[in-house]
Amino acid sequence: MPLEQRELPMDYLLPALGLVFKPDTLFALLAASFFGFVVGVLPGLTATMAVALLVPITFILGPLPAIASIVAAAAMAIFAGDVPGALLRIPGTPASAAYVDESYRLTQQGRAGYVLGVNAVCSMAGGVIGTLVLIFAAPLLADWALKFSAFEFFWLSVLGLSCGVFVAGDRPLKGALALLIGLLISVVGMDYTTGTPRFTFGSSVLLGGVSFIPALIGMFALPEILRSILRGGESAALATRVVDEWRNVFASLFRYRRVSLRSSMIGTGVGVLPGAGADIASWISFALSKKLSKEPAQWGKGHIEGIVAGSSANNAALSGAWVPALVFAIPGDTITAIAIGVLYLKGMNPGPAVFINNADLVYAVFIVFLLANFLLLPFGWLAIRFARGLLAVPRAIIMPALLILAVLGAFAIDNDFSGVVIMVCLGVLAYLLEESGFPVAPIVLGIVLGKLVEQNLMQSLVSAQGNLLAYFERPISAVLGVATIAIWGYGLVRWMRRRPGAVGG
C-alpha cells in the first residue's frame, strides 16, 4: 500500500469504540477482572491458569467479549500476584517473584498500602505503555508482513520455536525436548496435505487432533492442584495493617517515571519475543534497574524503585506478547498461545490480513486492552481493603473446587468427557516433566506452532522443488533464516561452554 493511502490507527479507533461500549463486553471485562484478581491473589495459581480456566466460559460469548475477558483476566492476575507477595512474601504468580522481598520489607515497615498502591499504578502504567506500542507497531508490522510467503513464515515460526527454547529457558536441551513433545502433540490427527490419519491409533476422537483447551487446562491447572495437595500450604496469618497512601504512591511514580517507562519498554520487548513473557520481563527490568540505580545502597531494604520496575515490566509484557500473536499467529507468551486458539475459534484468524479483514475488531481489542488496564486502579483500591480476607481462605477449600472447574472446562469444549481424559493425561505428563526439571511452556508453544511450522514447511518444499537454497533466496527469508541459525549456534555454544557440573539441559 502506498504511504499516503495508509490510514492512521485513529481512523479505526473511533468506530471501534462503538463495538466496545456494549453491555456484554463491559460486563465480560468486569467479571473477568474479578476472576483474574481472585486467581492471581491465590499463591501458586498463575495468570495462564486463570486464562486457561476462563476459555471454556468464553465459548458462548461473542468474539469481542471473549477476547476482552482473556485480556482483562490476564492483566488483573499479573497485578493481583503482587498482593500476596507484599502481604505474605509469597508471590501470587511467578511474574511477581522478582521484587517480592522489597515489597515484603516495606510491608514490615507498616507500608503495605503504599506497596499495593504502587503495584496497581505501575501495573497500569506498564500495561498502557505496552498497549500503545501494540497499537502503533502491530499494524505497521502487519503491512510489511503481507508480502511474506511460505518461506518467510516457515523461518519465522522456526525462529519463534527457537526463541522459546534458547532465549527464554535456562535449560535449552530440556526446553527443546519439551518443545518436541508439543510438536508431536500437534501432528496427532489428520495430516493437512493428504488427510492421512497420524498417531490416532484408531480413535475417532483424535482424528481432529488433540483438543487444545483441555490439554492446556490439564497442563496448567492439574499439576498445581496436585502440588498443592501434596505439599499443603495453609493460609498464613497477616501481621500488619493496610493503610491507603495514594499521595505517596503517585509521588513515587512521578519520581521514578523514567524507571517505569524504561521497564515498560523492556517488558514490551521481552513480551514480543516468543516464549518469554511477564516472568522474565520483571526479572530483567528489576536487575537492570538495580544496576542503573542512583541509590544502590537502598536496594534490599524495602526500596520502591525495584517494585516500580518489576510491576511496570510484567504488565507491559502481556501487551507486547500480542504483537507477534496478532501479526504472525506466533504467541509471545503462554497466555497469547491460548488466546490464538480462541481467535481462530471466533473467526478472527490472526495473521497480517487480520488488520484488513477484521480491522474494526482489532482496534476494538486495543481499546479493551486500555480499559482492562485502567481497571487495575479501582481493583488496586479494592485489593488494599479486601485482599486480606481472600488470603485467609484456606487453599484446601479452593483446590477441590478448582478441580471440578477444570473438569467442567475440559468437558464444555466439545460437550464430551473425552476432553477430560485428554486433560488428565496431559496434566499428569506435565506434572512428571516439571518434577523432573523440564519446563512446560515450550510444550504449549509447540502445540500452537506445530501446525504452522509443518504447513509452511510442506508449502515451501513444494515451491522450492527440492532446491534448498530457495530458503535463502528471498531477502527477508534469508535474514530470518540466518537469525534462526544464529540462535541455534548461540544455544549450542552456551550449552557446550557449561562446566561439566552444570550440564543436564
Binding site: 527443546a176 495437595i229 484446601a396 473446587a401 473438569v407 518444499l461
Partner: protein, 159 residues
Amino acid sequence: MRLGDLVSGLLFVLLGLAVLAYARSLPPVPGHFYGPGLFPSIIGWGFAIGGGFLAASALRAGPRGLPRFFSAPDWRAGSGRLLQVVLMFAAIAAFVLFGEFAGFAAIAFIALVAMYASAGRGWVQSIVIALGVTVGLQLLFGKLLGVPLPPGEVWSLLR
C-alpha cells in the same frame, strides 16, 4: 515422582525411535521424498538426538539436584495427602466413566464432600461448602453458559 536425566534421556530416545518407526509406516506421496511422515520423522530424530545428549550429559556430570534414576518425594507427603490425591483421580475417573449415568451434579457433590472431609473439614462444613460449589458451578455452566451438563440417566429412571 522425579526422573533423573539419565532415565528421562533414555525414555526420550525410545520415544524418538518409536515415532521414527511410526513415521516410516505412513504412506509416502508418490515421487516425492516428503509426505505425511516427514515432519514426524524430524520430531523423532529430535527426540532421539536430544534424549541421547541428555542421557550422555547425565552420565558425565553425575547426579545434580535430581536423582540419578528416579525418586518419589511425593510419597513422603503422608497417607492423608496421598488419600486426597487418590480421591482427586477417582473423582476425575468417576466423571469420565459415570458422568452420563449419574449426572454432573451428583458426582461433583460426592467428590467435593469426600475431598473436603479427607482434608480435615468436619462433615457438616464439607457438605455445606460442597453444596455451595456444586450449585454455583451448575448454575454458571448449565444455566448462564448453556453447557449441556449431563443431568444423569439414573434420575429419570427413578422418577
